[in-house]
Amino acid sequence: MAYLELNNIYKTYGQGENTTDVLSNINLSIEEGEFVAIVGFTGSGKTTLVNLINGLIEPTKGEVLFKGLPVQGTSHERGVIFQNYSLLPWLTVGQNVYMAVKEAFPKKSKKELNTIVADYVDMVSLTPAINKRPKELSGGMRQRVAVARALSMKPEMIIMDEPLGALDALTRGNLQDEILNIWGKDKRTALLITNDVDEGIYMADRIIPLRPGPNATLGPEFKIDIERPRDKTEMNDNANFKETRNAIIEYLMDIGDERKSEAKAEFVLPDLSPKDFVNQFK
């Protein structure tokens, strides 16, 4: 039995004539300790998929199984790193993390909780900024706080929704390494949603493209057989990397072309002609 299983998931928004089918027929299974990346265009329903897995929304049809049990609402076992950081702006870095730790370990004393907070803030090397508020931090620092907050709850699975999407290339690279380090330490299961194929290949064991919505569905999976720890510069010369990368990009490009040709649908205009105004007023 897989660790996380999605069986025939359908998700539609709206009712009656205004329904939009966002996801259809999604099947996915993730094993324990695996790092899976889902790659897709923006607006293809990635965030909807994430929210289904972390329990913020429920599927219209189908079921999400986590450790064999259906997902009902959110859980501390699945930590989420949101796309837009979602830090509370009125709390400091430390308080943001503390709030999560306190919810995850309600029985621990204040001193123990503070130690955990300090450890995780240190892990993302933000100790000097622990008393700062999010708006005083750069985008990269904010995202590191979000990472610390998600991990401090010691989740069994980390779900990341385009966590590095808004960052510049350099910060992005550093944070990728940091996340991989943390993941490598205790081999938690991880699901990464991204729009960057290179990021997916660098970080994941398996890449699954998401065919864009409406009616988004998962494409064929690509295994990444590159030894860890991976090195970015070496990877660029790795034949395996090049092959996989090209295959995925080609696949995504094909989908793009398909969609373009679909978009050329014919629009039938109603048969109308202007009224004869001139004769009307004679």
């Binding site: 959110t74 930590g79 949101f82 837009n84 702006p89 709390l91 999560a100 919810e103």
Partner: protein
């Protein structure tokens, strides 16, 4: 990092930039590039104040002349030329018994202001003397278990101001304690919202006078056994009920429109309801709540005058009404003094709320 608090920072924080512009002028720190800003922020307001006083003076002079001519004409028609001449000389001599009753000039208002202050000094001296005189007697009376003798003389203008401030703050606190919790409940639950919506929509536009009458009907009966003067209770409750709507509506809106991201965070962290409200919903709606409170305080101050006047509760409203009824020579000038005092205090209260709002809200750019 050491943070120093300078006059400039404080005044800017409170929205009183003109003060720091004036300070720069006097300390000679004004640089050429700041000159335009100084002109705009310092000179222009000053010039417009002078222009205002000038126009006021001209207006009051012409009103005085219209009134005087009318009176003399009337005397001439009714009582003959001698009476008219007598009236004219009387007016020219500045005798207070025959002055035309119209809009007072700026200088008259300034004189009245000074006389009100003198009056205050006399009354407070009198009060201090009274307290000193009765100190021993009061000690004895309290020892015997009797009530102390209190000063029952007429309140001065300054006393009236403080009395009005007391009423407005009591009303404001009442509004705060009713509107904020109720607003939170309405914002959180659509059921409560639909239960209260008609109530808010109907009672929000009701005039202060009607609120006063309603409160009067209820409080009068409730305090039927008490010999105490209920006018203060009635007026502060009316002020609170009139002014609470802005806070109620803003709180409800702030609470119901919390950023979805924050709600998602609360869900993912699995915060309990109590935690969710106090750690996420309330902090994120604080800016809107404070905008509401700011409006509430200024509305409270505005309706206070009318309500004090109706309730005969001591304060600026009653002062204005009594001066109007009094019809003494300087009554009109005193009313204008009260008008300026009311305006300036209202402005200061607004700044006070803005300062608190800037201080508590997490995003300083939100403050208006």
């Amino acid at each position: 990092m050491k943070q120093s608090i300078t006059l400039g920072k404080v005044t800017k924080f409170m929205g009183l930039g003109v003060l720091s512009a004036l300070k720069d002028l006097f300390t000679g720190k004004l640089e050429k590039k700041d000159f335009k800003t100084f002109l705009r922020k310092g000179v222009v307001p000053l010039a417009s104040i002078l222009l205002f006083i000038g126009l006021w003076h001209m207006g009051s002079t012409s009103l005085y002349n219209i009134e005087a001519e009318f009176k003399i004409e009337k005397a001439l028609n009714d009582q003959g030329p001698e009476a008219a001449d007598a009236l004219r000389t009387c007016m020219a001599s500045g005798d207070s018994s025959c002055q035309p009753n119209t809009l007072p000039s700026p200088s008259q208002v300034w004189e009245s202001y000074k006389s009100l202050l003198r009056d205050h000094n006399i009354i407070s001296a009198d009060k201090a003397a009274f307290i000193e005189k009765t100190a021993d007697l009061n000690e004895k009376r309290i020892a015997d278990g009797k009530d102390a003798i209190t000063y029952t003389g007429r309140p001065s203008f300054v006393d009236q101001i403080f009395r009005s401030l007391q009423t407005v703050f009591a009303g404001f606190l009442l509004a705060l304690f009713i509107a904020v919790p109720l607003g939170i409940f309405i914002g959180l639950s659509p059921t409560i919202k639909s239960a209260f919506n008609w109530f808010i929509q109907i009672f929000k536009p009701v005039s202060p006078v009607v609120w006063y009458l309603l409160v009067f009907m209820i409080v009068k009966t409730l305090l039927i056994d008490s010999n105490e003067d209920s006018s203060f209770t009635i007026s502060f409750i009316s002020v609170g009920l009139c002014s609470m709507w802005a806070t109620l509506v803003n709180t409800a809106m702030g609470v119901s429109s919390v950023d979805k991201d924050f709600i998602n965070v609360a869900k993912v962290l699995k915060l309990g309801n109590f935690q969710k409200i106090f750690k996420v919903v309330l902090p994120s709606s604080l800016p809107l709540i404070f905008t509401g409170l700011k409006i509430t305080l200024s509305v409270a101050w505005m309706v206070l005058i009318a309500i004090e006047l109706l309730a005969q509760s001591p304060g600026l409203g009653l002062f204005v009404w009594e001066e109007f009824q009094n019809g003494a020579n300087d009554s009109n000038a005193k009313i204008i003094v009260a008008m300026f005092v009311i305006g300036i205090i209202g402005f200061l209260l607004d700044r006070l709320m803005l300062t608190i709002q800037n201080w508590v809200s997490f995003d300083k750019t939100d403050a208006i």
